[in-house]
Amino acid sequence: MLYVAKRIAISLVLVWVVATVVFLALHMVPGDPAEVLLSTGGTSPDPYAVAELRERLGLDRPIMVQYGEFIARLARGDLGTSLVDDYPVAEEILLRLPRTLELILAGTLIAVSIALPAATYAAVHAGGAFDRAASAVAAILQALPVFVLGTLLILVLAQWLRWMPAGGYVPFAQDPGRHLLLLLLPAVAVAKGLAATVFRMARAAVLEQLSRDHVRTARAKGLTPRRVVRRHVVRNAMIPVTTVLGLQMGTLLGGTVLVEFVFNWPGLSTPLLRAVETRDYPMVVGIVLTVSGLFLLINLAMDLLYAVLDPRIARS
């Protein structure tokens, strides 16, 4: 219990640290932040626009006041309004976030449900044909950037074979079948990196467990090979895998931005990329904070799972 409380407390502190870093980032940029945001290349921006932006972002007040207000607004869930169209950032995020989450969830499910069994089988039959084939596939997948895979999937499956739509989005309520069809390719693209990494990690972990003394003990007890693998190998091998899974989610979240762009999936990346281009700072901050918060949450969940899997953690 204490472990859980401690983990949650640490996560909260990290959320606060992330918010602070994001706040400070604007002020750490050399020069006047408002001027920096408005400058395009060499030309210096219109002084009136700078003054106006400075006032809008509250940059004219003392930094501690700004910081206090920033944190207070965050705590209320107020992320400010877009510089471009005055639309509340939080509302934009609330609209988009579920779609991104859906993609992440589908991708993770695909990745884990393929990679884990494949890795176990490959490791138990290490050196066999399946192991060599699967390891080669994993290595190639790992080297294929998500956006390359996504683009190639569209080229082959949508443009050449015309089996799949090239991308887009239809709400589930409107047409469930088409929604899932449209979800499939982006989810596969999101899954790829995770699947490759999980496969490699899990394979190594299972191999490592197979050589452990306690596996020898299990065999000396006369357990069947199937039971030895299930209870004394896979269970133990999952412990290092969960840690990697948590850390990998960062890459996965980043990859999702690219995948959404490639497949025109209207998740968080659409407003994010537009905001980066138009230098709509409040929008970028809002989305970065949301996704980082999500990342921390996933890692918290992984830590808790880790404690369930490994009794040495929580109970010592």
Binding site: L155, A220, P225
Partner: protein, 606 residues
């Protein structure tokens, strides 16, 4: 072998880097010169890969693109490496404030998903190469800090670092002579990982239009451009995709090979599980009165990279019910392999090449795997040396004992748990109900070994093989375990094979003893006789080395020969003080009254 794995990816990466470096001097068309007339041409003289949507030469753009990517990747990895390694060194060595600062900074960076952090910075600073380098070096900083920090901490814990510190070496000397060489490998691996990852992130950002600024060629930008026209000109899309993927693949392979080469553990090849069982034989052979276990001429070969070695050769012994047979010998004499071979738990590299091991009349070495499995943990049980690693850390000890019961008997889970508690009580664990629910790390070493014994006796074995069951334990704990084993043997009448290198333990617990040296049995007989009147010079020397009584203990000069270089004649000859030229031929095990001894001179020496 591991170095060989570096060659192919190393050559590929070197080739790509060289191309990128040589881009300005290669006879390539200008990568930014537009030629709208030849837009999307698939092939043109001087443009083997064709032209892009502005009629620019694709081959030239790919090579110049490599230059852009790699410049960004190497620059950022180098910055991250320099700063990160320094921080990590300071943090690991000085701990305190430096540690807090460096490790926490790394933690904060790790809170952001990489691309998101990059986008935040791009918003602030605008896209461009300088921004990219800054972002990427921030992203990979934590990796270097952590690797260096962890390595320094582990190096600090090494005795050899403590030894230099105890000599009063100044800190810079310790860091540069002792710590840096040890972290150089992992840092190199981290560097290659960072370069590979940087190439990926750079191309991704450029693909989004937020990395390298056009018209500078970059693979990500090329793919972005080709997407719009991929139906008309699919090859234009494929070339940069291929270039990018092959580069990353080569870098990843190089990283893996480097990591394996640097990893001090070396490539640990884990054993495969045994092939699935052969078909059951029809009938059991008829039983005849015989010793419980009779091993004859057991020989084991192990395939090693340098050729086959024979760590166990022509080993014979017999154990009767209710009796303890001890196997003693120095490290590497083949004791454990003998036991593992009898249990059928040899790793796949090891093969029994000759001999029989008759257990109650049946040859264990000739049984199908399924039948051996039924004997293991049933009629024959085994206890291992290190009770911590031999128990599974993630299951409760009661469950692990119950599992042994259910592997052999068809009882309900509840009944098995109940019986497990009884067994724990039987092996002298106080408060067995509560202890059954404990995990191995919550028990002391002695208690863990008691759990191992409970597991072993769960199915009333008729033979117990114990491989150094007390070596990892303190003497007072050892006394308790040996007492327990003796008591169980008396009560159940099981036979015990006790492997140990402690002659005192043999003297106190065993009836018969087998002395092994360099894979062979050199003497065999009852403990009382062998210890009172050792016949083999090795047995004598071993006994004389024990510090007991007032005589000065005498060491045996030299060391046990390695299994790939057994001496040709008597294997003990190089260390034997009685060796003569006749000892240069191989020795056979001779009968010496009730005893067996492998020494041509035993009669002269007796």
């Amino acid at each position: 072998m591991q170095v060989k794995r570096l060659i192919l990816p190393g050559a590929m990466v070197a080739f790509i880097v060289l191309l990128a470096l040589l881009a300005p001097v290669l006879p390539l068309p200008d990568p930014v010169r537009q030629d709208v007339a030849n837009r999307l041409a698939a092939w043109l003289p001087g443009s083997p890969l064709g032209r892009d949507e502005f009629g620019r030469d694709i081959l030239s753009r790919i090579i110049w693109g490599a230059r852009a990517s790699l410049a960004v990747a190497f620059a950022s990895a180098a910055i991250a490496c320099l700063v990160g390694t320094t921080l990590g060194l300071l943090a690991g060595w000085f701990r305190g404030l430096a540690e807090f600062f460096a490790v926490r900074t790394a933690d904060v960076v790790l809170c952001f998903p990489p691309i998101l952090l990059a986008l935040l910075v791009v918003t602030l600073l605008g896209p461009g190469t300088a921004t990219l380098i800054l972002v990427l070096s921030i992203l990979y900083l934590p990796g270097f800090v952590r690797v260096t920090y962890a390595e320094v901490l582990s190096a600090r814990g090494q005795d050899y670092v403590e030894a230099v510190r105890a000599l009063g070496a100044p800190t810079p000397r310790i860091l540069s002579r002792t710590v840096l060489p040890n972290i150089a490998g992992p840092v190199l691996v981290q560097f290659s990982l960072a370069v590979a990852a940087a190439v990926v992130v750079e191309s991704g950002l450029s693909f989004l239009g937020l990395g390298v600024v056009p018209p500078t060629p970059s693979w990500g930008l090329m793919i972005r451009g080709a997407r719009a026209t991929m139906e008309q000109a699919p090859t234009y899309l494929l070339y940069p995709c291929l270039a990018l993927t092959v580069t990353i693949l080569a870098m990843n392979m190089l990283c893996d090979a480097l990591r394996d080469a640097v990893d001090r553990k070396g490539g640990t090849r884990a054993p495969k599980l045994r092939a699935v069982d052969r078909i059951l034989p029809g009938l059991f052979p008829t039983r005849e009165p015989a010793p419980l276990l009779e091993v004859q001429g057991l020989t084991v070969d192990i395939a090693t990279p340098g050729g086959a070695i024979r760590p166990v050769e022509d080993v014979s012994f017999a154990v009767r019910a209710g009796e303890t047979l001890a196997i003693v010998g120095e490290s590497g004499s083949g004791k454990s392999i003998t036991a593992t071979a009898v249990m059928g738990l040899l790793p796949p590299v090891a093969q029994v090449t000759a001999g029989v091991a008759r257990f109650e009349g049946r040859d264990l070495l000739d049984l199908p795997e399924e039948e051996r499995r039924r004997l293991r943990g049933g009629a024959i049980a085994m206890v291992f040396q290190d009770p911590m690693s031999s128990l599974n850390p993630v299951h409760r000890v009661g469950d692990q004992v119950a599992e042994a019961i259910r592997a052999h008997r068809d009882v309900s889970a509840a009944a098995a748990s109940q019986e497990a508690v009884e067994l724990l009580k039987r092996v002298g664990i106080a408060d067995p109900e509560r202890r059954a629910r404990a995990y191995p790390h919550e028990l002391s070493g002695g208690m863990r070994q008691r759990v191992m014994i409970a597991m072993a006796i769960a199915n009333r074995p008729r033979l117990l093989i114990a491989d150094e069951p007390t070596t990892a334990l303190d003497v007072t704990v050892q006394a308790g375990i040996l007492d327990l084993l003796a008591q169980l043997r008396r009560e159940t009448g099981m036979g015990v094979v006790l492997i140990t290198h402690s002659l005192g333990v043999v003297a106190e617990t065993a009836d018969e003893v087998v002395v092994m040296y360099a894979a062979q049995v050199v003497e065999r007989g009852t403990v009382a006789e062998v210890f009172a009147r050792p016949l083999h010079p090795y047995t004598r020397a071993l006994l004389a080395a024990v510090p007991e009584g007032d005589a000065e203990p005498e060491g045996i000069p030299g060391v046990v020969p390695r299994p790939d270089a057994w001496p040709p004649g008597c294997r003990f000859a190089p260390r034997c003080s009685f060796a003569t030229p006749i000892c240069e031929r191989p020795q056979v095990l001779e009968q010496a009254g009730e005893r067996l001894v492998r020494c041509i001179r035993w009669k002269d020496l007796a």
